[in-house]
Symmetry: D3
Subunit: 329 residues, 6 copies
């Protein structure tokens, strides 16, 4: 049985900043760390969520296949870079009879996030139920998975849980959307006493015209608690004449009133500039879904999907990132 | 202090079925009962909700004006036909400090419904908060009004409460939408322990291709409890080459599992066929928001907005309507 | 058994040109001659096709109902104005086993035309088969109807047969379209040796920018053979900022090469100017589907749908119409 | 040869405010004063510009016909209500050889304004030149008309001249647009030393969300000079789910810096509420193009097009209108 | 004079499956076998059709050039990999005078298929005639080409003939479309007694939601007759937020009722994963137009266009492909 | 103080035509000559304008950054290939008080052109003023920059000045547009006596259907005066199913009536075929903004943006280009 992850993560996947770089975040030289065809019949593996799991790492992965329905798969890695994914996709055990009702109309599942919360790993994902909405489930071991009710009505995407209650209530970020390639999207916060019923919805952040985040914004990895506030990595999208471009930046949210933005960088941290980010099933996408932190060293490693095709890593230092967010705000 | 309305409503506004008609629902000869300019500076009064209120009737009204923001107004009527509306629009008292937060970004309020529930009149409406969503409030006297949290994340419209708890939980129908003239829309049901947090969302009814309800459907008046199930009047929209056409029909929902449809009429009950329904600020709209029932006689009177401009009445008998729904299902 | 209609039609429905009018075509003072609710449960009766039938008149009618699927109904009239329609919609008998295949996916049927051709009344209509296309059938008596193969692949509308073969081949006009409220459309001609296989497709007429026929054009009634060419009434559509406007005009096609336009009026003959043409299920529609001719007097009577709701008549003289087409060409 | 109109216009068309009305602007009981078919072959006469002309009135009229190209026609009236229009449309004499170049690609001409400026009547209109732009011309007698260069590049509409120079420069309002049914539009001001070359373009007024002017705004009649500023009537458009709705209001612009708005009413003055404004070639349009003022009495009469079909009058008092603009600002 | 190709094609272009691959279809290591600039002034050479031609290979090629109109060109190859294309594009000789009529409005020609049928090589292609439709012609020697009538009305693309009559009738697959970058499309079958008149149109396959073929599907190479049915390679398109993605899969159609699908793989065979498929004039396109079979060995080689820029090869074994289609169905 | 550039430019950046090429224009082997990150925090440097500046070269550069607003920066280069850009973006000094008014609403600035005209370097660019329009300014030294009035009303892009007056008037090409990713666009010419007021607008060139320039065309570098006419390089755009493709070609305009096209090549000169043109922030873009000429040798070097990310060079000979334009016209 797992216990709460401590703040130290000495085996965090890591590469030092290249000597010729002064970037706040830099890419792994091993990118993409997960190729599109790691497992048989996979078309793509991306937008995936990783957490420390004992001495190793575990994760839930978005796997696109040649077959229609997009599923999620679990995986493990000794060092967070070299992954072994289950060929069988995750089967969700309903936590009560009523959850079976929403399972009957299963359409697809994608863009997972994983959060250690109280006593287990919660998974949230984009769950098809007459349109996309936020699925919620949990696992203790990344082998057996249990499904709760969907958090919201359709249409919604990018539901991200906070790693602890705030003011006694569970907190979830999400991005209300429509039923297509939504050309708008703000980040909202909702709270819940029981992870089933949600309310007190607040807008957290909107888009900014004429920028890398002018079309929509959505929460990325589980927010990281820092003394300066909740550090939130989030994606922003602009619409060029040839489609969407997904970059990502960061913001700091108030620790006690997390719908309030303390600081938000005007610059992106990463935009699609490498071949594996620019070319693939969807061009020009960098999409973060997980972040690891080794508190003693301040090392941060971000897992992000590239071009909706492969999975990549970026590295940085917590203090640098926080300074960047505050100074460029 | 008001008490629960009894099932008898002998003063229900009423006209007998015209002798040359065999229609299940027929229009009042006094339509429109509320003209567009009943109060000064009103451009339109429509999509409004009426309930018995002691020996009289009270209601919450959508009032469009020459001034920008759409507000709600309260009104009273001795017999439900001749209305007096407050010139001042409703001012919502927040029920706690956090409700003030959503009041700060007030944009507009429209399409109210009123439901007697337990010990007061609850009002739901389309409430602008970074996009349309479902506002919730209550009143005891239609003079002082109190606002609760919005029920859902944007984007949502047509939130309708059930008049009692089911399985111990409050129930609300709604129609998730987008931020424009939404060209899609199904009816969903959500439940809540406290009218603040909502969950266990279920799709209730979708559209039907090539019919009067092929583009979207939305709940109308508060559902009426009958021995055959919850009687729900709802609007359906088709898209002609010259825009939307709003008609309305009815369905029966399971008493204990109200997300399950028992019967649903394939015919509409009313479609825009009268000049006051076909011509106005928005052509070809009939949109029901309230229904009164006199149980002893089975008389049903529906208040519906016409052409987004005026308010009208239609009459029928409960048994006829239920038979119609079941036979044409 | 019917025989070929002679050119004389002394009982043609008729009203003289109003004394204060110099119009080429004038409306019947009895318009609409068929109300929207002539038969029970009808929502609308429009875009319908009438032919002489012995001493009376018979027709195939587009009937919109409160129930979803749009069907066709047959009807009879002693004088062409006072109609009796069958409550039961037309049931098509397949002419061979393969026609059954296309009947299995029946969706809807609308906008019929009827043409006496060789030895029977052929009916063409917009037939739903994975999208709109041209259905073909025939009747001898307007009681029993037989269905042939669809003439074309989807997506097509407004298929109109010529009343005799030209150069030994059957001829059909049609308007290729898409699967929605098509914002484009030209008139084409196709020929067939057997009414089953069609080929040698030719464009006949396209739209004209900045006119009443700038968005699309489609053939109306069966072309009338005259010494000057085939007289074709056709509808033209413009797109105002508030939707489509359907007017109609006329053209003359070459007798032997009917894909060649001899003359085409730049003016419309009728545009939506009467309340019953401007207000209804679809605003601003006049849509002709049938034309009768009494050769000895030159009287022409056109049946046209108004506002997609009711059926109307317009009258004129053949010579005036032909002069109009030639002079305004 | 005409001379400058004096401020007194005792024969201004006029009806007193109805006794049961407190409206700032009221409609003529004779509306529509010009029917759609005043002249032969006219389909519609609307969006037309009238000025005092000696003891009578003269104007330039938008005439829609059954024939394709939309032209302008001149007309005269003894009292401003009963009009006689030329059957022949206006033929523009080029003022130099280069103007001939733009005449060669003539497409259409519509929505004229007429302004007495210095020594003649200037006409501006929407002139088709590879897209709509602002045509400029003049007349001394409404019989012979002379054309200057187009003021701007396409795409533009609603060009309105000021009745005198400001700071030595000619001034023109316009509404840059696109080449279709433009879903956006602000009012701009440009200045010119010679009525040929234009520059120093400034935005004057934009749209307001959630109001009767949320989609676009455009200048109406020639601005009226008052001690409070230039009084500008202008149309505003909202987009309902069934199309555009054109209302009109008013604003005051700074006398010396006319791109600065001093006051702008939040209420409309007239919105489409009469059958002749709600039903016609384009539903729900009221569109002002001319305003007359009798200075001694303060009477103002506005000519506006209704439903893109007919021409109407509205009356009011200058002081009331100015007060309305300032108080509701 | 050519004779019917036998089933043996020992000189089929071929590479063995790479030792590290278990794919059903694998790419040639020489891809792209035809570069975009093989002939002078060519911008791209793709979506091209190849057949055995005596001891060599011949083909009809889509050549995009810097000059506007897209033409077809013929070419020859000794081994099917190294191609020599005619610099002059194909000139079609009309087979009768009426075909000249459709040649007069020639717009463009693209996406050819070539089929040996009875006694000659038939060519079908997307032929511009007031919109795209299916051109039909033939050649004996790939030097002189003869044109027949277009098979269908516009709008249509991807017309593919069967290599023999079925039930005495010629058979053609096609994909009805609209006049732009059609966002829908199913495969239909039509039959003809004479290759001029076509009828008995049947829908064969539609799209599948949430898959690589969710937007449209279209027939690829000439179907291959096997004991299990007609093997049809076909392209499927999904719409990502950055545009269309063209993959291809396969299906088996009934030998005698070829509009009936026996089996259809849920997996694609090839999707755009190589640089030359992902980057080019149109990103992410793999589009098969021809397939060769060597019956004795079961070797299949597919010619497909990549990125609308170059031409590529893929190889596989007939039995493997059939098994794949049946097992993944 | 600079003086007029002479026609000789012996230090023009140059590479000879590759020996295996017969292209009229060929790319530099050093492309991209300016990488996306030449200066710190730059995301992209492209669509930039270069001129000879004494013995060196100077330019104005479009710099995209991670921060929102797009600015212009100045730069210098000894040989035109190795550039040093100012980290600080250009600050425009208003030439009079009224110019300050348009500076107050500064939004963005991009796609500059630089032209030596009479006695200074004029800069034109796409300037955000309630939508894109043409900014105008000048510099003597590329250190201090002065801003004039915007030339036109919004919406406009690609304003390009001629290097001398024609018939005594300044001349500017531009491309009227809308406020988004405009899907249309022709090249127009306007003239001005003072660089402030503009008029006599003429359409110069429109798009050509089914070609590389079927969606829009826009002027590129400053036109080059030759004995054959003004040589204009211009971009043309087609719309593939996956977005816009920007190529460029050339035309010759009449020396005295520069709105008249003497010759216009049907072929493009350059289309996106290299990785750096096909992959980047916007795929498939080649966009020329400056051209240098060494008259004695006839060498022409074009600066063009690639993929909206980097800056590139292409070379050719003036005579070859003119011949190409005339022969392929």
């Amino acid at each position: 049985m797992p216990t709460a992850p401590s703040g130290a993560l000495p085996n965090i996947p890591w590469e030092d900043r290249p000597s010729d770089s002064s970037a706040v975040l830099w890419r792994s030289s091993r990118n993409p760390i997960i190729p599109r065809d790691l497992i048989s019949r996979a078309n793509s593996i991306f937008n995936s969520a990783v957490v420390p799991f004992g001495a190793r790492f575990a994760g839930v992965f978005r796997v696109g296949g040649p077959t229609p329905v997009m599923p999620l798969a679990a995986g493990f890695s000794p060092a967070g870079v070299d992954w072994k994914l289950d060929e069988a996709t995750i089967k969700w055990e309903p936590t009560d009879d009523r959850v079976r009702e929403i399972q009957e109309t299963f359409v697809h599942a994608y863009d997972p996030r994983v959060t250690w919360l109280e006593d287990r790993y919660y998974v949230t994902w984009c769950n098809g139920y007459h349109g996309p909405t936020i699925g919620v489930g949990y696992t203790h071991d990344f082998r057996k998975f249990y499904q709760l009710e969907n958090a919201f009505l359709p249409f919604n995407r990018n539901g991200v849980l906070f790693p602890r209650r705030v003011n006694g209530m569970y907190q979830m970020l999400s991005r209300p959307s429509d039923n297509g390639h939504t050309p708008f999207g703000d980040i909202y916060l909702s709270e819940s006493p029981d992870l089933i019923h949600w309310g007190r919805h607040r807008q957290v952040m909107s888009t900014r015209p004429y920028t890398w985040e002018s079309t929509k914004v959505g929460a990325g990895p589980t927010p990281i608690e820092t003394s300066e506030g909740w550090l939130l990595f989030y994606h922003g999208v602009l619409t060029s004449c040839n489609g969407f471009v997904y970059s990502f930046g960061a913001a700091l949210l108030d620790l006690d009133q997390p719908w309030k933005v303390i600081a938000r960088s005007r610059d992106y941290l990463i935009s699609p500039q490498k071949q594996y980010e620019q070319v693939g099933d969807v061009q020009n996408v960098t999409f973060p879904c997980a972040a690891l932190l080794d508190e003693p060293t301040g090392r941060v490693t971000i897992y992000y999907g590239a071009a909706d095709t492969v999975t990549c890593l970026a590295h940085g230092y917590l203090d640098d990132i926080i300074s960047f967010v505050k100074e460029r705000s």
